[in-house]
Amino acid sequence: MHLIKQFSLNFLLITLIVLLWQSTAAAHGVDANTRQFLLANQGVAIGPFLYIGAKHMVTGYDHLLFLLGVIFFLFNTRDIIRYVSLFTLGHSLTLFFGVLTNVSVNAYLIDAIIGLSIVYKGFDNLGGFQRVFSHQPNTQAAVLIFGLFHGLGLATKLQEFGLPQEDLWKNLLAFNIGVELGQFFALLFILLALNIWRKFNSFYSFSVLTNTLLMSAGLILFGYQMAGFILMV
């Protein structure tokens, strides 16, 4: 009975990964309707920007994979809140700084770095740095620093649309709050799934496999974005 439960749970996880995978084509940047809205929009639009921010996060598999890596071995609520807050602080800073000062980074390069952040976290979750370099890099600093890169990614995507300068910060704030709402919503589901899985021994026996897959997913994103960079720029 226990074995069946484990099997069905693993099956569920694999299905989830496949589903995530299938959304790959649509998830880079924004979809066609959003694109049209952003291009045509003038002035302050709090509701739409909240929604676009939230949707970007919920459908942004790169951000979600990184968060999954971050909270994979976080067991108590305080730790989760601390690390997620650091991530939020990081990406909010660069999102605002990037858009307001018009600093733009190539979208492919920044997404490639976001891919690497996932590889980093997967390797970290295997204890790789301690084993290979006999040194554990500060995990909180890492989350903050990678948060900064994720924020630059968000900023770059918004800047592609040449947003109207007037009252820009209002739209930006709405987008940012939307991102946090989306992140919170997505985290609830990830945590729920993780907490159920942690009740089974398979969480521990599969943690190596899961983090290997996480590294692999990060490498795929990295390769995908680098190929885009080389071909399109």
């Binding site: 730790d79 295997l126 301690q130 983090n211 490498l219 795929i220 390769g223 885009g228």
Partner: protein
Amino acid sequence: MQMKKTNPPVQSLKVLIISSISAVLLAFFVLIAIVGPAEYAIDPTGIGKALGLTVLAKPVENISKAVVTCPAGDLTSHWQDVVMITLPANSELEYKFYIQEQEEMTYAWSSEGAALYFDFHGEPAGNTTGYFKSYQEATDSQAKGTLLAPFSGVHGWYWKNENLKPVTVTLKTKGKYRIKGLI
């Protein structure tokens, strides 16, 4: 089962090497066989073609609807909004505005000579029956005027391009409205 681990378990060097190599190999395989063909039409193994993935990478720019806002220049200075909407050959689309009852919208659009069938119409807000009121229905390459909205709701144009070439409509508007955009 250990419930209160705060640090991730440190795996042995052997496990680390195996898992790192597996991650790289899996990523490489997925990139070469699936992502490359589907995203960029790069398909060295032929697996992408066998799976029918390469069709995804064909450029779709020329058949997609496009809308671009114009920079405000001298010509556009007395208009509030100017959009250029591209209708691919043999296609149709709608561009709409939210307008309140008794509010006015002044408009002028032109397709630079290419004849388009169009229906300028409005749908009352909250109406689910599919009812719409037509203001102007014709085949022409331009139209202008002022709409006094008979009811609150969504008002705008349906255009149909039956030409063999894409047609770009430049639509200029001013008045009291909110852009809904392409439908």
